[in-house]
């Protein structure tokens, strides 16, 4: 039997694998299995908008250890720090402020700061050790998640324990002397009972400026535990981030001291009911605890805090020291039910969300002495009532029509008027041929002012909702190994809230046109190349890069993974100052010593050409700082 085995196997291959025209080796079969079983194929949701998926395989080859490693190349955007040193994902050309229209999810839970409605204060460098894949939706007008309105939705999906069955430790260290210690354990205990645990401690050291006066170093501790019991899922997350907050509240950008400490704890329960699991109930509690301490010389403008900043300016009344301790809580109940037939899917749902904003302590000092105060704003409580409906109808098996409507009512205390508005969207997806696909949306969205924006306003009660209307279309073509996608988006924003330096509505409507072209060529399942080019046209002054793109090369073999990434952002001019083009080049090489041990080396911003954050000082001087350090990271990873 042994002698005839080879001849037989050859014959078997020819007979049984004729459908793919070749004899498939076990390694190739495993790769194909991994590809079709990719969890992102299960989770992506067409009705949320135009999307980009970063798969598990891509995250691995990229050595993407934290969220920043992924978001820095997102098309039509820049990922650069704001004046608090917090990385912000901002649309091309706009300013890195504290954007309220980006929603970040970890599985079913949305993690924006309760104070700012912005997720990045604690999550801009969130550890990806427990994350399987990432989806980014250009989802203006998406309603099915039932949360605050959004323009961009970033969804992080945690690892599936049945696919892990392992413990992993990771140690990373860089030439900047920052480091990461990480532990991930994900296993199935019994059928339908599983857990995923992540513990991570990270430090990030950045260059300081003005003789060490400003810095944006970060120390973060991250804990995540997901426990699944049949159709019940309980998530517990704790994040603690301490930051040197860069320019902070110093108008001259050279504070004497500038620090924050932030904690985020959430407990999230998701229950799926009914035999088809079409009824989903979600209950969650979020607790944010924050302290901030800011100090600046009076000659530099002191500390800017709208509540104490007098107008007209009297130097004796300007704070030179400011300390704040704040507690914020959020309680959410969400329910949705999906009704499906052969050609139609109807989703209805609603949510109630209570947000509490309590100032624990405020202390400040002026040239004339110290003071404390009890309260900054009378707005301490907002209840958001939401009802939504989304219908997807298959006109034919190649044409899908989507219509959605979400109605919100914001009940606010402290004499603030009630806000009521709606989000509406029409979408259409069609396969024009087997390889050509078109997808388009018309949408109308509103963005409410956050606690933070209200507090930063001279007259928070008069702040209006931002109202956006827009349209987007995506044309995708795929033939064999080639994929091409052309994307266009138009957005018009009325009453946009900006910091001037107080937050206020801008009367002039802002209009933006975005165009992008993406191309991917797959040599095979282990080697591929991705190219992106984008351009934006805005009717406002450029505050960041308007054009850009990237080139990414993914290569994998049995023993090595190689990643090359070149991110381009075009330069721009601001108040007469030229900001140069940037070419952020990153290279990662992984050597798989064995099936359980890897050593990795990653060079970040090797050309020392990083996109810049630009800030305008009171005297209309312009200062700029590179967003990314040139550094080399060494990683050791062991699987048990």
């Amino acid at each position: 039997m042994k002698k005839s085995r080879f001849a037989f196997l050859l014959l078997y291959c020819l007979l049984t694998t004729a459908e793919v025209g070749k004899c498939i080796e076990i390694e190739e079969l495993l790769s194909e299995y991994e590809e079709v079983a990719d969890l992102s194929k299960k989770t992506r949701t067409e009705s949320l908008g135009h999307y980009v998926v970063i798969t598990r395989k891509e995250l691995d080859i990229m050595q993407a250890h934290n969220l920043s490693d992924v978001l820095k190349s997102v098309k039509l955007h820049s990922y650069i720090p704001n004046r608090f040193g917090i990385y912000q994902l901002i649309s091309a050309g706009s300013i890195p402020g504290v954007n309220t229209s980006y929603r970040l999810y970890i599985d079913d839970h949305e993690v924006s700061s309760i104070h700012t409605d912005n997720p990045f204060l604690m999550f801009d460098n969130y550890s990806l050790d427990g994350i399987n894949h990432i989806e980014i939706y250009y989802g203006s007008g998406a309603v099915r998640l039932g949360n605050e309105p959004s323009l961009i939705i970033i969804k992080l999906y945690t690892k599936e324990p049945s696919r892990e069955n392992s413990s992993t430790i990771r140690i990373s260290s860089s030439n900047k002397k920052d480091y990461t210690l990480s532990f991930n354990d994900a296993r199935v205990i019994k059928d339908n009972i599983s857990y995923n645990l992540v513990v991570n401690h990270s430090t990030l050291d950045f260059s300081s400026y003005y003789n060490g006066s400003i810095s944006r170093d970060i120390k973060g501790n991250y804990l995540f535990l997901k426990f699944k019991y049949y159709d019940t899922s309980i998530d517990l997350s704790y994040v603690n981030v301490k930051r040197d907050v860069f320019g902070g509240l110093a108008p001259d950008f050279t504070p004497t001291a500038s620090k924050t400490s932030s904690e985020d704890l959430y407990l999230n329960l998701t229950q799926r009911l009914l035999p088809d699991k079409s009824l989903k109930i979600n209950l969650s509690v979020d607790l944010n605890r924050r302290t901030g301490e800011f100090e600046n010389e009076i000659t530099g403008g002191g500390v800017f805090s709208p509540s104490f900043y007098p107008d007209p300016i009297d130097p004796l009344k300007i704070p030179i020291y400011y300390y704040e301790k704040r507690n914020l809580n959020k309680y959410t109940l969400y329910a949705s039910k999906e009704f499906k037939s052969d050609s139609n899917s109807l989703l209805i749902g609603g949510s109630v969300k209570l947000k509490e904003n309590t100032i624990d302590t405020v202390k400040y000092a002026t040239m004339t002495g110290n003071n404390t105060t009890d309260i900054i704003t009378p707005l301490t409580k907002v209840v958001l009532y939401t009802a939504f409906i989304e219908n997807q109808f298959n006109i034919t098996d190649k044409n899908l029509f989507i219509a959605s409507l979400k109605v919100d009512h914001h009940h606010r205390n402290g004499g603030y008027k009630q806000l009521a508005d709606y989000i509406a969207r029409l979408g259409y997806i069609s396969f024009l041929s087997d390889s050509l696909y078109i997808k388009g949306f018309l949408n109308r969205v509103y963005i409410p002012p956050s606690f933070y924006k209200i507090e930063m306003s001279k007259s928070g009660k008069d702040l209006l909702l931002e109202k956006l209307t827009g349209a987007s279309v995506e044309l995708s073509y795929k033939k064999e190994e080639h994929s091409i996608a052309l994307f266009y988006d138009y957005t018009k924003t009325k009453d946009m809230i900006d910091f001037l330096p107080y937050s206020e509505n801008i009367k002039k409507p802002l209009e933006s046109h975005y165009v992008s072209l993406d191309y991917q060529y797959k040599f095979n399942l282990k080697n591929w190349i991705s190219i992106d080019l984008f351009k934006s046209f805005n009717n406002f002054d450029d505050m960041s890069s308007t054009d850009g793109g990237y080139l990414k090369m993914f290569n994998s073999t049995d023993r090595f993974d190689l990643y090359n990434e070149l991110i381009y952002r075009k330069g721009f001019k601001i108040l007469g100052k030229d900001i140069k083009d940037s070419l952020n080049y990153n290279v990662g090489i992984t050597y798989k010593v064995s099936n359980t041990t890897s050593i990795k080396l990653k060079g970040e911003n090797i050309l020392n050409s990083s996109p810049k954050s630009v800030f305008i000082l009171p005297q209309r001087d312009v200062v700029s700082f590179p967003s990314f350090e040139r550094k080399f990271v060494f990683t050791f990873e062991k699987v048990f």
Binding site: L29, R163, N165, D518
Partner: protein
Amino acid sequence: MFKFIFLILLINLSSYGEDNLAKYEAKIIEKIVVDITGKSNPKICVIDYPSSYIQQYALSLILTNCTQADFIISSSDKRSDYNKPILVVGSTEFSSHDVVGVVFWKKGRPQVLFINKNIRKFDIQLPEEYRKYIIRKEGTLNVKSDS
């Protein structure tokens, strides 16, 4: 980076499906059993493993009872009294000396392993392409074997 879905357009647009996963799992089982036995239509029996996967997607395998089978496919850590080679699918833990191979998920990837001691017990000659999947040390990749 854009991901395309060029199957038919359904409400839940996705090329992911349990059927698709079952198909690939069954194809892997089929290939391993055929390669190891050297037979064009080997006989197998299943223990705690869906026979429908085999019937639908592994057409060269013949389902029979375990006494007559060339190979046993099992998804659980159960001892066998049949003295037949066992392929465990979906579990990383086993204790039987008859387990010659394991198909499982670890660290987000599907993997196969063959246990050297147990292979020798059945005098199995693995084709060259499987050599790198043979484990000679106990505890490798956390597969628990008392062999």
